[in-house]
């Protein structure tokens, strides 16, 4: 993607994906996907469901063979060296996939044993996570809450001390507090030197990654630091508030220099095509326009675009150029 934060290719990169393609019938699940992840990086794949994130994970964890392109994990080829890769990666699929009829401890012990290790040997790495669920170690995994299931799944993916961790939408269906705790855990794992690739459909989680790749329709739209991705937004952006949102949206869409209007939380995000004009001047012009149309309570302020703004904008252009 040519941004300055992308490190140059090196054999030390724990993950290199080069022009990967995969098709299922009529659906192009992956289309010329290339990414490179640095050691001890927390890398996010962000995009809506059906964007190709899970397909990419399944190829990288050697469950699926790509149609074209190549990928190396820890310097090993995902097609040729699948057995070496399997011994060294940790994978947490999107769906909860532990044995519901086995207890917490039995699940963890089982996954440790199939990798030829034990809970005790893996304890130092899983300790911060496992200690939270250890009081329930005799409870069956099926009877755990969503947040605890997810911690158990992470423990199971980590117990054999993998060199790289793949987490496919780990926070889907988990409450807000557990999600925050989970990301804190990922940060402490990353601090210990583990490379982590995580996918999420939530834009707010993208900010917690070192770098993110935006994915849609099997394509990478952009790869960069979250802050830098916000800066890719092509137009001046404004937050607009007012009580009559329907009238606001209609008026803003019909405004002479309107680029886009999206509802965004409690306000509207309006972008303007006049990139070379002073934002405060645009803001006052827009405010006057709204007041003139009878929306006296309308407030307009210039704001910094976030990752979600960029994503909405990129998705709009991507879907207009990619035949769906």
């Amino acid at each position: 993607m040519g941004s300055p934060s992308t490190a140059p290719s090196s054999v030390d990169s724990p993950l290199i994906v080069d022009g990967l393609g995969k098709r299922f019938g009529d659906v192009q699940a992956l289309d010329d996907v290339s990414i490179e992840v640095q050691p001890a990086e927390l890398f996010g794949l962000v995009g809506p469901d059906g964007g190709g994130k899970t397909t990419l994970f399944r190829i990288l964890t050697t469950l699926l063979i790509p149609d074209s392109g190549s990928a190396t994990v820890l310097g090993l080829d995902v097609v040729r060296d699948m057995w070496e890769i399997r011994a060294r990666v940790g994978y947490m699929p999107g769906q909860f996939s532990l044995y519901p009829d086995l207890s917490v401890e039995e699940n963890l012990g089982f996954f440790a044993s199939v990798f030829g290790t034990s809970i005790e040997e893996g304890r130092s790495i899983i300790a911060p996570i496992y200690e939270q669920i250890e009081p329930f170690r005799d409870r069956r995994a099926g009877a755990l809450s969503g947040g605890m299931k997810q911690k158990l799944a992470l423990s199971c993916a980590l117990v054999h001390r993998p060199d790289i961790l793949f987490l496919d939408e780990p926070t889907t269906g988990v409450d807000a507090v557990s999600r925050r705790e989970f990301w804190d855990l990922l940060h402490s794992l990353k601090e210990s030197g583990l490379t982590i690739v995580v996918s999420t459909p939530y834009m707010d989680e993208a900010d917690r990654c070192d770098r993110v790749a935006l994915m849609q329709h099997g394509r990478i739209l952009a790869t960069d630091r979250p802050a830098a991705i916000g800066a890719l937004f092509p137009h001046p952006l404004f937050g607009v508030r007012g009580h009559d949102r329907v009238a606001l949206i209609r008026t803003l869409r019909e405004a002479p220099h309107s680029a886009s209007v999206f509802p965004f939380g409690g306000e509207l995000h309006y972008s303007d095509t006049r990139t070379d004009m002073d934002p405060s001047q645009i803001a006052s012009e827009v405010r006057q326009l709204l007041h003139a149309k009878g929306m006296e309570d309308a407030e307009v302020r210039s704001i910094e675009p976030g990752i979600e703004d960029t994503f909405m904008s990129l998705m709009g252009t991507a879907s207009s150029t990619v035949p769906a």
Partner: protein, 382 residues
């Protein structure tokens, strides 16, 4: 090897935690064995007989008495009208009609043979044949009795032209069933039923097993581990195989002590056959599990395969009665070989040497099926 042990440990943990599964494994097959052993018989008792006695003589009453005294037939209705009897047959109120024509006794004394008519409802062909053969045996016996008691000479009771009651031929065919002299249906059916119930339970449980892990997503998790294909299949096979063998042993105990089936041959040969047979039977279950995406698919495939197995096993219809191509097909049916083997050992006391063909076929089928299952279970998709 160490991984295999852990995998097997996990399978046993899951099996013994699932009450439903345990019930399916141990209670259901044994209950079925007891139930079917008593139900699956070709014996007919108390068939309803409509008597049309137009003669009303001591001899005609003797015919009715002999038939009912056997316990095979009960005199459910009588009248002098064949039309009424036919109506009863149409309405399902009677199974057979016995017509003793006028002058039966007179003809018997004068001509030394006289016809009776025995009409059997042949909707159920099997039962009709059985009833007819009972009747001819009983009547032949009565004829012999009469000739000794009252009328020296070779007097016979013969059937009406369309329904022969006893042959006119003077050849005396003496039946003697070897190895099951009383033609006890339980002895004949129980070994086959035991094989069936163990096969059904074993095949279904294994067929559900891998596909359940697919549905739960645990298979993906397992696949991203260094577990080898053959280790995985072995870990699935060994626990269920040993439980099915245990099931088989319990069933055999039940057959011997409760159902009174003899064990004339070597138990070692029976179990050796069972061990080899179950590898193939459960291997088919694992193969089904590998090709299926959902438990529902696995269920359907299992049922259609099991159905074919059962109907072509020779238990319900003799293999020799089937067309040649079907007999060739039955060579690939492990159930047929093992049922043969079981009967031969239990009833006949056959040994390993007599059963080389069955042992070779069971081994070949087992190896082929197992290879298929391992190959089908691929740890990744194209």
């Amino acid at each position: 090897m160490r991984t295999l042990r852990f995998l097997i440990h996990k399978e046993f943990l899951q099996i013994f935690r699932d009450r439903m599964l345990l019930g399916m494994l141990f209670i259901m097959p044994l209950a079925q064995l007891l139930l079917l052993a008593n139900a699956a018989t070709f014996e007919v008792r108390s068939a309803r007989m409509y008597v049309v006695d137009q003669d009303g003589s001591p001899a005609s009453r003797g015919v009715v008495d002999r038939l009912t005294a056997s316990g095979r037939f009960i005199n459910s209705a009588s009248s002098a009208s064949i039309a009424l009897a036919n109506e009863a047959m149409l309405g399902g109120a009677t199974d057979v009609i016995l017509v003793v024509p006028r002058h039966f006794e007179r003809d018997l004394v004068r001509d030394q043979h006289a016809p009776v008519q025995f009409i059997v409802n042949a909707e159920d062909g099997g039962a009709a044949g059985v009833m007819q053969s009972y009747a001819s045996r009983i009547l032949a016996g009565y004829a012999a009795e009469l000739s000794i008691k009252e009328l020296p000479g070779n007097m016979m009771i013969t059937g009406a032209p369309d329904v022969p009651v006893a042959g006119r031929a003077t050849i005396d065919v003496r039946r003697r069933g070897w190895y099951n002299p009383d033609l006890d249906y339980a002895d004949y059916m129980v070994p086959g039923i035991l094989v069936i119930v163990v096969t059904v339970v074993g095949t279904l449980l294994t067929a559900m097993n891998i596909v359940r892990e697919k549905e739960a997503g645990t298979l993906d998790q397992l696949n991203v581990t260094p577990i080898k294909r053959s280790t995985f299949i072995a870990a699935k096979l060994i626990p269920l195989w040993s439980l099915a063998l245990l099931d088989f042993a319990l069933g055999l105990l039940l057959a011997y002590f409760v159902l009174g089936v003899p064990i004339r041959g070597s138990l070692l040969v029976v179990f050796l056959g069972g061990a080899i047979y179950l590898v193939g039977a459960l291997g088919i279950g694992l193969w089904i599990s590998s090709i299926s995406e959902t438990q529902q698919q696995a269920m359907f495939v299992s049922f259609s395969i099991l159905m074919t197995y059962l109907l072509m096993s020779g238990l319900f219809t003799p293999l020799r009665a089937m067309p040649e191509w079907a007999q060739w097909l039955a060579e690939a049916n492990p159930l047929a070989h093992f049922t043969n083997l079981m009967r031969a050992v239990l009833l006949k006391g056959a040994g390993l040497r007599d059963l080389m063909h069955q042992f070779v076929m069971l081994t070949v089928i087992g190896l082929v099926v197992l290879t298929l299952a391992v190959r089908q279970y691929s740890k990744r998709t194209e």
